[in-house]
Symmetry: C2
């Protein structure tokens, strides 16, 4: 479950499989399990809870002032299907991804890629209005590709 879409709903199902919880508790638990690397926003959790309710994968315990959510049998089945599709430990894998995404190395790399792409965009525009520069650009990219190939070995 590496994709952004649906991840929070999967995470909620995992948590509720362990024990019933308040929405706020879910938010806090996600933050806790990520060692603070992820702050779940209410804007993410509550709509996800709403959708899981509509699907009846989770339900609310009755007659309480505070909303406690629990997982249904249908929700457990869905979760089982998710587990089939993904190997490894859900939480550990997630944390590993978060650690990477919050690392200094990743942040620098991301910035470098963005800057590169911006400059590439300008270069493509330049080539479009000045086609003579295309050959130079091809040569440059070919050289860079070769260097990267060596590094990729």
């Amino acid at each position: 479950m590496k994709k952004r879409r649906g991840f929070i709903k999967a995470a909620i199902l995992h948590l509720l499989k362990e024990e019933s919880m308040h929405g706020y508790q879910i938010m806090k638990e996600l933050e806790s399990r990520s060692d603070g690397l992820y702050s779940a926003s209410a804007g993410t959790v509550y709509p996800a809870l709403q959708e899981l309710l509509e699907k009846e994968w989770i339900k609310l315990e009755s007659d309480l002032e505070k909303k406690i959510y629990f997982i249904t049998d249908e929700g457990k089945e869905r979760l089982k299907e998710l587990r089939k599709r993904e190997e490894g430990d859900f939480w550990a894998d997630w944390k590993e991804r978060l650690i990477w995404r919050n690392s200094e190395e990743f942040i620098q790399l991301k910035t470098a890629v963005e800057q590169w792409e911006e400059e590439m965009h300008k270069a493509m525009k330049r080539v479009r209005s000045n086609p003579e520069s295309a050959a130079e650009m091809s040569a440059f990219l070919t050289e860079m590709t070769e260097r990267l190939k060596i590094a990729n070995k």
Copy 2:
């Protein structure tokens, strides 16, 4: 009108503004106006004609064995709106784009970009599984970006 979607329909409207035509004639005219750089496929033209008919931007002349399409007043209005949005000569601009896209320079550049992107994809996977190499990758990209900035001046 640089986008792929809708271009053929705009081109058909332009042609029919000049004179009524058969579908096949439209195909041939497009090929002719591009000096053979573009071969309009029937798979493109006939569905486009069908859609323009449904919108009643064009109509069929009546009682003929062979289908001759002509532009309606509504079609002329739509064409006028298109003209407002784009400066320059429709056909000349198109041909210029085709010449560029069929040029040796463009083809080489496109290949170079594709190969670069493929190698970048591998590099990103490598970094993901070996985060120590991220700093090296960032440095590489930063160097490339600087070189490209100089060329973009």
